[in-house]
């Protein structure tokens, strides 16, 4: 009751003279309750930092167990990945080449189609069509990857087999094509944002000089947005490298150093999942190998994310 009255007296309209403002500030802003809330919220924000540290610590410490048995030079230079054979070899290259093969195929699909979609949605589509096309493309991004994996294995591969002789049931081509479709919305959406960020006056200037629409697009808008467009490519490819379920279901589980897209291969992510499915006992070298492969995967995607951000910040045209 007393407190309520005091608050009423302090905050109500019948103030008697001016209150010392710093005293008020001390009472209100430095109250233990307010400070406690601030610290609690700050701790929550810290969790995201702890997550990153946790990922780094887990990958480094568990990989150390792996590199205690396998020399890091063999890991980086040998070209055979045969943990299941009696003569074991742990060279990362077959897994890296599998990942790269799928990523290159995905890039060949997603980069042209994503960029052209971005141009169409940003410059050609009337407002009504844009309101349908953009969410429509974003639906593609919302489909779970296991569904894409099912699609690649049971639809794309059987459809391609009559056209491409020698296409295996599990192959890099189908997986790569479907990963490409999956990342189209990412390229399209980020590139469109970049294109729309180019000032209208640049386009109007080009039109005033007699340029046609396609010339404005190709010589003004796309070059003006090139940093954002490049960043969208890198981010999308980083997503493709980390993609797991499509390649696990459709690309196979044969660690092989090959550039043949019709062949069965194994990516880094598929290896990690396959080891987990096999219920490998903890403490074996195969168990630790998933952390070493995970570390390589993490470093590659991290580097690509940093590169994309650096391109955006450093080479962005400032208008």
């Amino acid at each position: 009751m007393e407190v309520a009255e005091a608050q009423h007296a302090a905050g109500g309209p019948h103030l008697q003279g001016a209150q010392p403002s710093d005293e008020l500030a001390r009472n209100v802003y430095r109250s233990p309750r307010e400070l406690l809330i601030e610290y609690a919220l700050g701790f929550c924000a810290l969790i995201s930092i702890l997550t990153t540290l946790g990922i780094a610590a887990v990958l480094l410490f568990e990989s150390a167990n792996f590199f205690a048995e396998v020399s890091i030079i063999d890991f980086l230079t040998q070209t055979e990945w045969t943990p299941q054979f009696s003569e074991k070899s742990y060279g990362i290259w077959p897994l890296l080449s599998g990942t790269m093969l799928v990523t290159v195929i995905a890039a060949l699909v997603a980069i042209p189609i994503g960029l052209m979609s971005a141009i169409f949605i940003a410059e050609y589509a009337p407002d009504g069509a844009r309101r349908v096309l953009k969410p429509g493309l974003e639906l593609l991004a919302g489909i779970p990857t296991v569904v894409y994996g099912y699609f690649a294995l049971t639809f794309v591969t059987p459809t391609l087999q009559p056209i491409i002789p020698g296409l295996k049931i599990y192959n890099a081509l189908s997986a790569g094509l479907v990963v490409g479709v999956m990342i189209v919305p990412m390229v399209a959406s980020l590139s469109e944002d970049a294109i729309r960020a180019v000032p209208r006056s640049l386009a109007e200037g080009a039109y005033a000089l007699g340029a046609t629409k396609i010339e404005v697009v190709l010589h003004v808008l796309v070059p003006g947005a090139i940093s954002g467009i490049m960043a969208s490519f890198i981010l999308a490819l980083s997503r493709a490298i980390g993609e797991t379920m499509i390649v696990t279901l459709a690309a196979g589980a044969t660690a092989k150093l090959t550039a043949d897209p019709t062949d069965s291969i194994m990516t880094m992510t598929a290896y990690i999942v396959n080891v987990s499915l096999g219920d490998t006992p903890q403490g074996t070298i195969v168990y630790y190998s998933i952390f070493a492969v995970g570390l390589v995967l993490f470093l590659i995607t991290l580097a690509m994310n940093f590169l994309a951000n650096a391109i955006i910040h450093r080479y962005q045209e400032r208008y």
Binding site: C44, A45, I47, S48, P144, V147, T269, D279, I290
Partner: protein, 292 residues
């Protein structure tokens, strides 16, 4: 006088090039939608013979005719509920700290860069983290709780980024007038910012949870079993979820199981569609009440 005939603007050629390329751009845009429709039609055609009430209410079985997704649906519901309980308070609280408290210095910058990078970490890496940290180190085993913690960390960056945008969209005048009336910082946040930004935050949460409901790889990593013919009774029980059941059926060579996988996909996509629809409706409904 300049000779006008020496300037050849080749307008016909340039316009033709524009029309051709414009058509190509249009086809590229349509391509994604065509694939989407093909995928949906394929899944519905393959899956509809297997869709029935028994499919929803039966446990997985080695006999395709008797197989169902009861344990997978219940597992997914548990998983999403637990994930939300863990990640929503953490995510919204982080966003409040970053937007309303954190001084705009290097700490803010580091946390922000870190969150953006976390959003780009492959989900299978979160699975590795969950396996080493929750399953082994904290000895939670292959339980619902370990899965939910892993999934919560995975969607945390999405919730934080969505909530930050929601808080940024609140007009500064609302904060200032509340402060001017003597409200404390927390009173401003609790009684003004949160109610105003709640619809946008809810939309972000629903989208983040629909990402979590479709994730497969992290849960395979922490060892969510694929053949579970019982319902989890507590958060420490083993479990399966819908995407893992779909993965398991897809990976089998028999065509019957692929039909079952398609039926499971239809159910999963319906759930996702309803979640997305509610997010859109929520946004549109509350858009009208938002102060500008």
């Amino acid at each position: 006088m300049a000779d006008a005939s020496r300037f050849d603007e080749r307008l016909t050629h340039r316009r033709r090039k524009g029309i051709v390329l414009g058509a190509v751009f249009f086809l590229a845009t349509i391509f994604g939608l065509v694939v989407l429709i093909t995928l949906l039609v394929d899944v519905v055609v393959q899956g509809s013979p297997w869709l029935s009430l028994d499919f929803i209410s039966n446990y997985p079985s080695r006999i395709p005719e008797r197989a169902g997704i009861k344990s997978a649906i219940v597992g997914s519901l548990w998983m999403i509920g637990l994930t939300a309980v863990v990640s929503v308070p953490l995510g919204v609280a982080s966003a409040i700290y970053l937007e309303e408290y954190a001084p705009r210095g290097w700490i803010f910058k580091i946390i922000q860069i870190n969150i953006n990078n976390l959003a780009g970490v492959p989900s299978v890496i979160y699975g590795i983290l969950g396996l080493a940290l929750f399953v082994r180190f904290f000895a939670l085993g292959r339980s619902l709780l370990a899965g939910a913690f892993t999934m919560a960390l995975l969607i945390l960056p999405i919730i934080i980024i969505a909530s930050q945008e929601a808080f940024r969209a609140v007009p500064q005048g609302i904060r200032e007038s509340a402060f001017a009336l003597g409200a404390t910082r927390w009173q401003v946040i609790w009684s003004h910012l949160l109610p105003i930004s709640a619809p946008s935050i809810m939309t972000g949460i629903i989208l983040a949870l629909s990402r979590a409901i479709g994730e497969t790889a992290p849960l395979i990593m922490i060892g969510a079993l694929t053949f579970i013919a019982f319902l989890p009774g507590s958060v420490m029980d083993p479990f399966t979820v819908l995407p893992i059941q779909i993965f398991n059926w897809t990976a089998r060579p028999q065509p019957e199981f692929q039909g079952l996988a398609a039926a499971g996909i239809v159910v999963l996509l319906i759930v996702l569609f309803l979640m997305n629809l509610s997010a859109i409706l929520l946004r549109n409904y509350f858009e009208r009440f938002r102060p500008r």
